[in-house]
Symmetry: C2
Subunit: 331 residues, 2 copies
């Protein structure tokens, strides 16, 4: 099954652009209950896998040994904007570990947060590694690494930290990992089928504390992300706005190159999607359309309107057209 | 014929993303000599149409009456970065017309030029309409408008300036315009088939001065764009770097939503392409691959390497994969 048309852009009476891709919805048993495109496609989840990359941090006991807060657990699962609320917490976390920015291996990144971008640019400061959208994940890696006493190059694919992540990835997806890529933050990003990732997210949605170490760790990460939506992305970002709007019904998490997941504990449902061309505007539109389809988000909510059915304005503010899900696909 | 896979991104051993679309190569007679995807697809050229939108400016005699330089003709065909070399020329052009920034109808835009972006942000200045990447095109509209003595709302689809553009568009594409959209700069953007746009660009490639008003105007616009590659886009931009590298063999021009054209006078060839999903990284890759295929650009040239076969690096500089044309497609 090839990629299907998911999103279309109209300008005047011309259908100007279209985005294709694949999406799955899985139930608490891990079964695919709905699919668009190829559910068996091998994909890279990119940052949509962060709640899995954080699993060994909890299951090893490292998080509790370090006394990590729910804010730190949310930050470990974040693709943040590099705002002060993110970088300050990452810096304190490093200091608690007796480490500094130079112990990170994620590399520096110009922050997406407008205020911090302006502060750095106008003071001729270079971004630090804590500005990297993955710095919380890397603080989690460093906390696990401290706990197990392994070497400093924790992003190497054969490092004990990454071997633990790979084992967790194979367990929650229920698949033997078919390969991996090196992510923008220089850590390995393990592949799976889209259905396997939907199954993993459904597992997080069905996880409950008191049902063993695995489920307890998964439930704590989901609760932390839902409790701190501003920490998993940033003000004005889709993950923050959608998770806030879900109001405890679930959490969504973006990944680079058009990936998105949703974890809906109340419904014990997991969602995973990949826009073939890697475009974020389309992955945000599709995850929003699926949340509306599942009845956990009102199509009238301003956030749903903005992400699922945005009007396209000229630089003078004239209405020039719209982006929308392909009609009938998610209705 | 549906869109075909044009460009693929690889991360490690995973084919992570793919871009589909349509492309045509036309000869001096206007015949399609090569096509990928659907040559008859109705598309919006966006800024790739600027050398057609500037045609009435020359054919009416307005450009010569105003004594426009080749720099101004290049700027009229530009999607510029809003650098000082662009905004300064646009401001002087407006002053020569006895007009100001407020007479433009393109709207303000934060400049892509890093130095000007920094200057505005750090001085808390708002961008002006001359910063809009289309401000040169709009100065051309205002020059034509002054010449014909029409009203100030020159971007209205039924304004004489836009009716003249529409007539020129239908003549060079050889088609009755099937519709239009309002562009980001609030001017109408007229649609055509991809083959019609390739035919139009081949007409520009075959045009010679001394062969009548139409060909003379087309040849002057092409010569102006080739003579001033820094004015049609900006330092570091694909249009500027590719046109410079072509060294008089031709000019390329990007359009929003994954559009690109090439005009190759020495070969009397025109190229037009549309990436279905609207992604610039892919349209830059495909136009570069076609220039290499046509033998006017060396695959070893650093600009060709950067745009056609870029390595994808992590934020720490690790090699994580590559973007490339689909193998065999343009070889």
């Amino acid at each position: 099954m090839s990629a299907v048309e998911l999103v279309e852009l109209w300008r005047g009476d011309i259908r100007e652009s279209v985005h294709r891709g694949h999406a799955v919805i899985c139930d608490g048993s891990g079964a695919v209950i709905e699919a668009w495109g190829d559910a068996d496609k091998i994909v890279l989840p990119r940052s949509s896998a962060k709640m899995v990359q954080a699993l060994p941090l909890l299951e090893s006991g490292a998080a509790d040994a370090a006394g990590l807060t729910t804010e730190q657990l949310a930050l470990a699962c974040a693709s943040h904007s590099g705002a002060a609320i993110h970088t300050g917490r990452a810096e304190r976390w490093l200091a608690d570990l007796g480490l500094t920015d130079s112990d990170l291996r994620c590399g520096p990144q110009d922050p997406e947060d407008p205020a911090e971008h302006k502060r750095l640019l106008c003071s001729d400061e270079s971004p630090c590694q804590v500005h990297n959208n993955c710095s919380g994940k890397h603080c989690g890696f460093l906390t696990l690494n401290r706990h197990i006493g392994a070497g400093p190059e924790y992003t190497e694919p054969d490092h004990p930290v990454q071997l633990a992540v790979r084992a967790a990835w194979e367990e929650v997806t229920g698949e033997t990992c078919p390969g991996f890529g090196i992510d923008g933050c220089s850590a390995p990003n393990f592949a799976a089928s889209l259905a396997g990732i939907g199954r993993a997210m459904a597992g997080y949605a069905a996880a409950r504390e008191g049902r063993g170490r695995r489920q307890g760790a998964q439930a704590r990460l989901v609760q932390a992300m839902m409790a701190h939506p501003a920490l998993i992305a940033g003000e004005g970002r889709a993950c923050t706005d959608l998770t806030r709007t879900l109001g405890g019904a679930g959490v969504v998490k973006t990944g680079a190159e058009g990936f998105y997941i949703a974890i809906l504990p109340e419904r014990q449902i997991g969602v995973a999607l990949k826009v073939e061309d890697g475009t974020t505007r389309a992955s945000e539109c599709v995850i929003t359309a699926i949340l509306v389809r599942l009845g956990v988000l009102s199509p009238e909510h301003p956030v749903a309107q903005r992400l699922r059915n945005p009007r396209l304005l000229s630089r003078r503010g004239l209405d020039t057209g719209q982006m929308r899900p392909v009609p009938g696909l998610f209705d």
